[in-house]
Symmetry: C2
Subunit: 266 residues, 2 copies
């Protein structure tokens, strides 16, 4: 994967939930979280009491093309002030917290969050410190817990990875489309064109002696059609295959003699 | 997010598609890809012609708890030998490749891959070099393209992030469950218990003079019930709220006198 798919002339998508980093430690992780947000059209970062102060040069360097996220980021002295204006708060955690809170996968949570944001609510998602996550009082401020389906033998995700997965689900649900368009493929072939190709091919195969005996022909034709139908051919596929098979049928063109008067001067 | 959710006594989940890194450059990225695989129960890594040879010490250090993935990894001199035994191959790319190939989101692709693996097929997913991705001839070896829904203004995902997103979709579809169990919550309250709490509460409120006039009482009760029903209360929620409101109703317990003979010696 590379940056080659990025179109720098486009304006970044904005909106989505507030991504709230609670007491992040390393500037690099803030920068990587900003990049993950920018990948997925999230623009609003809140930072609660960052260990190394703010602004943070390491964060800016790491954020690279996502500098706009850091420029818009707002810093709060404590979590309560960072969530004061929000209507709903979700807390990401990697482990059971002994709280009677609903636990949602990122997909389910984002469905709720998307609905709330469409209803003009302001929503925040809490991401804890790199080493120790969120403490229980911080989780208690949230309406629900977001966690990720992971192998319990390897449950550890870093800060930017957690932001990436939430962002990925957000973009899928809020903006949906893939970055380039699969519809640029040729349209699916109409069955008429496919069958026309089949009958032409079968006639040619018959001419060339492909069918060893007349009574075997129907089963062999069915088998051949089964194989080719699995291609789910586009219109272009049909043209390409018909072109290729008819060239095969024709065989090589005899070499043109150099002194042939008809081709001279071409 | 932290590693605190990881249970080191568990055996890692294995299986899934072959994760094929094509000419990866940095050992750190191979290690991060291994970690992302281990998070999501993917165990089989193939490495095509790694720039810095193999084994790679930086990869091992970065992989940390995912060392088992690197130990099982197999190295191939070229892509063709790495896919020779596979039944299906998918190529991840961040940009349009001008190929008439089907383009799938990671979720859709993983649905296909999961089905194929359940049908005993062997499937591989190609991830390109950090800087330049896969070249067109490499993409041409694949049955379909996987890409990610991203903001086109910030389309760049790094190698480990691409592996992480595919792994996340894989685990969701193949293993599903969240790492801790939301079902440990108290069961949802039966409507009978909820209504019993409501009528008790309304009687107490009436006793305390909450309803200013009898004709306003029905609407105020409906409003109160609407608010409380939004809680979707569990059995435990009903007990907790009933306990709290009855304590409120009772008010403070009068302090016990120190020389009260009834409490002496307790």
């Amino acid at each position: 994967m590379t940056g080659a798919g990025t179109n720098h002339s486009l304006t970044p998508i904005t909106g989505g939930p507030q991504v709230i980093l609670v007491e992040p430690q390393m500037g690099e992780n803030i920068g990587m979280a900003a990049r993950a947000m920018a990948n997925f059209g999230l623009s609003d970062m809140r930072i609660v009491n960052p260990r190394d102060g703010w602004p943070n040069e390491r964060a800016v360097i790491t954020a690279a093309n996502a500098a706009h996220v850091l420029e818009r980021a707002t810093v709060y002295p404590d979590l309560l002030s960072a969530v004061a204006d929000l209507n709903a708060v979700y807390a990401t955690t990697a482990r059971e917290r002994g709280q009677m809170k609903r636990v949602l996968g990122a997909d389910e949570a984002v469905t709720q969050i998307h609905g709330r944001i469409q209803g003009a609510e302001k929503v925040g998602i809490l991401f804890g410190r790199e080493r120790t996550g969120l403490d229980n009082d911080e989780v208690a401020l949230a309406d629900a817990i977001i966690t990720f389906p992971v192998d319990p033998a390897n449950a550890s995700l870093n800060l930017a990875q957690a932001v990436l997965l939430v962002g990925y689900e957000w973009f899928k649900q809020a903006h949906g489309q893939l970055p380039f368009n699969p519809e640029e493929r040729s349209p699916p072939a109409k069955r008429e064109a496919v069958v026309s190709f089949f009958t032409w091919l079968e006639d040619e195969l018959d001419t060339c002696g492909f069918f060893p005996a007349p009574e075997k022909k129907p089963a062999m034709i069915r088998n051949l059609r089964d194989i080719l139908l699995r291609l789910s051919m586009t219109e272009q596929d049909v043209k390409t295959l018909r072109g290729a098979t008819s060239i095969l049928r024709r065989g090589p063109v005899p070499p043109v003699k150099k002194d042939d008067p008809l081709t001279k001067g071409e």
